[in-house]
Each structure stands twice: as C-alpha cells, then as structure tokens.
C-alpha cells in the first residue's frame, strides 16, 4: 500500500517534470525540469528494487548528461535566457497522434497478461550484471566501447577550430 502510494507520487512528479521539459519556453528551465524527470526515474528504479540502475541513472543522466546540457546552454550565450516556443502549426496533429497512441498502448498493456517474475531479487544482482557484461553480452559491451571511441573522434573533429 505504501509502495503503491509512493509509486503514484513519484510517477506523477516525473510526468509533471517531463511535461515541463516540453512546455518550458526557456531552454534553461527545460534543462532543469529534465534533471527532475531523470531523478524521478531513478526513484522509480529504486522502488522496483533495481538499486544499481537507480544509482547508474543518477550518476550518468544527472551527473553527466544533464550537467553537460546545462554547460552547453551556458556556453552558447545567444541561447541563454532566450524564450523559444515549443509549438509550431502542427502541434494539434502531434497531440492527436500522441493521445491516440497513449490510449491504444494503455488499453493493450492493461489487457495483456504479462508473465510477471515473482521471485526475490537475488542478493548478488550486481555481480550478475557484471557477469552478463563479460558473458552473454560481451559482444554488445565491446562494440559499445568502439562506438564510444568513434563518438570521441567525431566530437573532437566537429569541435576543433577549422
């Protein structure tokens, strides 16, 4: 019961934050709302007993990505403090599409008999994640490292003075 209430509270706050990201007219405010949304998702992970994911969410998304976004906005002065609407003349099409998709998906998800895993979370869950990285998922893990190298090369190339 307490878990349910906590979940609804957290999910509600996360949704409000996410709406703020989309609707805020000031880019800097949108970035701050994004931090809130990331934090809400981290809390959701912790409520689901996925502490590792919760911690990773905070370290990576709030610690690295959101900070970087804020830096990027502050460094590009002509964006800082400017108001920019998130609307264009197609917004009602987008709204209709989103509402339709939400209703469809919500209906299907409620109808669907998911095979829920009811077993306890194993005590060594983090160790198992680590073993997954060097076991079943070693190729994706290694490919991701080459991907990061390529992204690094690209970032340096794009950011260097001509």
């Amino acid at each position: 019961m307490v878990g349910q209430a906590l979940f609804i509270l957290t999910a509600g706050i996360t949704l409000l934050m996410a709406l703020g990201v989309v609707l805020a007219r000031n880019l800097f405010h949108a970035a701050l709302f994004l931090v809130g949304a990331f934090f809400g998702i981290a809390v959701l992970f912790i409520l689901l007993e996925a502490e590792f994911l919760g911690a990773a969410q905070i370290i990576i998304y709030i610690g690295a990505i959101a900070t970087l976004i804020v830096f990027a906005i502050m460094l590009s002065r002509h964006v800082m403090g400017k108001e920019a609407g998130a609307y264009n003349r197609n917004w009602y099409f987008a709204l209709a599409g989103v509402v339709f998709f939400f209703l469809l998906l919500g209906w299907l998800l409620i109808k669907m008999p998911f095979n829920l895993v009811t077993a306890e979370v194993p005590a060594d869950a983090i160790a198992q994640i680590g073993q997954g990285f060097v076991g079943h998922y070693v190729v994706p893990f290694e490919v991701a490292s080459v991907l990061l190298l390529v992204a690094l090369i690209g970032a340096i190339m794009l950011a260097r003075e001509r």
């Binding site: 109808k111 008999p113 190729v139 991701a144 080459v146 991907l147 390529v150 090369i153 190339m157």
Partner: protein, 489 residues
Amino acid sequence: MNVSDIIRLLSPELILLITGFVVIGVDLARRREDEGRTAAAVAVVGLILAALAAIFLYFSSPNQIVFYTMAIDLYGLFFKVAAFIGVALVIIASVNYMAGRSKFLGEFYALLVFAALAISVLVSATNLILIYIGIEFLSITSYILTGFLRGNERSEEAAIKYFLYGASAGAILLFGMSLLFGLTGTTDLAAVGKALEAGGDMHWLGLVALVLVLAGLGYKASLVPFHQWAPDTYDGAPTPISAFLSTASKAAGFAIVGRVFLVAFSDFHPEWTQVLAAIAVLTMFLGNLTALKQKSVKRMLAYSSIGQAGYILLGLVAVSNDPTFGGVNGLMIYLFGYIFTNVGAFLLLLPIEKKSGGSTDMEQFDGLATRAPGLALLMSLFLISLAGIPPTAGFIGKFYVFASVINQRMIVLGALAAVNTVIAAFYYLNVIRHMYFAESAVEGGVTVGRGLMTVLAINAIMVLAIGIFAQFFMTWVNSSLALVTASGF
C-alpha cells in the same frame, strides 16, 4: 568453442577493428606529406582482407552463433561481403574529392572502416541489445561522416537532420524492443520468435511492437514514412558519403529488417506482409513521383534511392519457400546489383560537381556526350540499370523481386510496381536525353582522376556482369539464404 574458432569466425570484424586503428596511426605519421593517400590505401587493403576473410568463412558454411549474440551464417556473410566492397569503392573514389576539403582525412577513412565494422556487426546480430548498439554505431558514424565538410552549410544541415531523425528513430526502436522484452522475457531473436508463437494473447501488443521496431529499423532503409531525413541528407552530404548511405548503409538496414522479421516475427508473417506491402507502395510512389520534379541530378538520385527502397522491400513482402522466386533471394540480388549501380551513379557526380563548382543541375549534363563521351556512356549504363532495363544488374534485381510478387498472387502489388518502373524510367531517361540530345551550355571537357576512373570501371563491369551472368550470381545468392534460427543463449 576454442579461441582459434572464435578468431576465425569473427575474423572480418577483427580485421576491420585493427584496420581502423592502423589507419589513424598511419595518418598521424604521414598526414602532411600525401593528403591522406596512405591512410586510404591502408583502409582499402583492410577492407579487401576483411572481404576475403568473409568469403573464406563462407566456404566453410558456418551456421552458428558466436558469443551468444552474433550469428555467423551465409545470410550475414553475403551482406558483409557486399558492404565491404561498397565501402572500399567509396574510399578509393573519395581520395581526390576529400583532399583539400578537410583537414581530418585519416579520420574520414578510419570512420568509413568503422562504419563497415558497424554494418558487419549489425547484419550478424541475433540479440535485440546488439541490434540496437549496431544501429547506433552505424548511425553515429554516419552522422559524423555526413557533417564532415565543416563550414559547408548544406553538409552541416544534412548531418543535423539525420542526427535528430536518427535519435528519435532510435528511441522508437528501443520502445518497441522494451515491449518485446516485456512480452517474451528475452532479448534473443529466436527465443522472442518462439515465445510469440506460443502465447496467443500477446498478438495485438506484439503487433504494436512490430510496427515500432519496423519504424526504428526502417529509417536506415529510408522506407516511407520514416524517410524524411533522406533527401536532404543524401543531397547535402559529401557525395561519396551519399553513395555510402544510399547503398551499403541501406543494405544493412534491409538485412537486419529481414533477420528480425524472419526470425523473431515469423509467427506474424500474414500481418507483416500487409504492413510491408503498404509501406512498399508508399515508398515507391513517394520516391518516384518526387524524383520526377527535381532539377538537380543529385537530389533526383536521392529521391530515386527512396523509390528503389520500395522495390527492394517487395522482396520481403513476397517471401516464400519457392526455390526460384523466394522473395529474399530477389531482395539480396537486387541489393547486390544496386550497390554497384548507385555507387557508380553518385560517384559520377564528382567530376561534374568539380567542373561546375558544386552544382549538379540538369544543365551541367547537357551535351555531356560530346564533351566527355566515356562519362556519358557510363552514366547512361548506371541510369539504365536503375531503371531496370536489360542487360544490367538492375533488370535482374527487378525481375526476381517482381516475379516473387506475382508468384505470390499479389497481382495488384505487381501492377503498382510496374507503374512505378514506368514513372522512374521517365526521369532516368531524361538525364540521358540531356546528355545526348541537348545543346551544351557549358564548354570544355570533364577530367576524371585515376582512382575515380578505376572505381567507375569496376562498377560498370559489375553492373554488366550481374546482368549478363545472372545465373552465376543467382546460384551464389540462392546458396546464401541460410539464417541461424537457433537461440544464442
């Protein structure tokens, strides 16, 4: 499986990985002297070695999974060989074009090698996680290559559009994958397929997941309505990169759509046939009708390449067990021929752009037959192949794809495809008309470098060879249909 087996089965990927690093190193040492020529040479040698390794593997007929997530099968190896050849041709043709346009030539060739590595991983992936990482790897490499001409507004615009669209498509793909994982409790394609077959109640949600995954993967193959990035990106990117994006990268998109649908969604075959048929019709009509109106040949080729994606998709719509017209073999021979045809057509724009200072408008082609008869002849060959007229590769591809469609009794679909061929022939032949019958507004011949000439010659020979010795190539394609359908875990 011992270490030597693993090294043997992953040899194409390992060779490319090492090549990528060596190219960067070589470039550091020789950057000033030769404008990236050594780096390009190393990259091409690496790609040829990787292609040879893949062919060598092909003859040992492997049909197994390495490290739980990569299927080394004939289907994947076919696409690897085709993509490596395509990337190597693009690199050779880039040498003169890129020299002087960018300071980061070594990185350019290294990124192309890494793009080949991404394709190589992607076409073998049998796990949703590896598919996602492979798609992102290929996409991020492509964004950088598209925006490589710093200071060129159109190149930068092309990269930004591609990036924004690709990032959204990636999110949609992940959403679809998360639904699949929720439904089946696994990320392995074969296991997903089994679970979807077993559970009756998951049908509708499975269908939503299918559409979302198709949207995420279909954008790589520039299928309508996930194509919006394609015209501006093909048009604005450095021309060799347009050639790469519209061929090797697109082939990888089709390869992984094919693998996911044939292995994971095999139970949904009746549904996806209809979804894909609708998408194929939209793609053909939108691509071809818009191409009709274009004034620039590069932009026309960009839209034509969307239209071509529609024909190629027909192969997957008409998939069956028929040994001659099975659909998938049509898709594969079409893509194989299309790589040579479209790389040739895009690269032929290089000397025209050089002469005109960037423009590829129809007027630049006026009277090309008298100014540069060889180039005009080659361009005609590539355009005839794109239009699907014998004796070219394009004809063989269209023949097998359309025959599969008719063989499946999809008469309306076949008729719509035929209508599109006629529309397309109009704008392809219009360029030939400009080259042979229009008065030239531009004076003087067109010069072509030795590297580019070699590439164009190889493309032309392959386009004709596939058209004339179709039987030989079809035997190869027909023996390459083996897909791993076992679970990796």
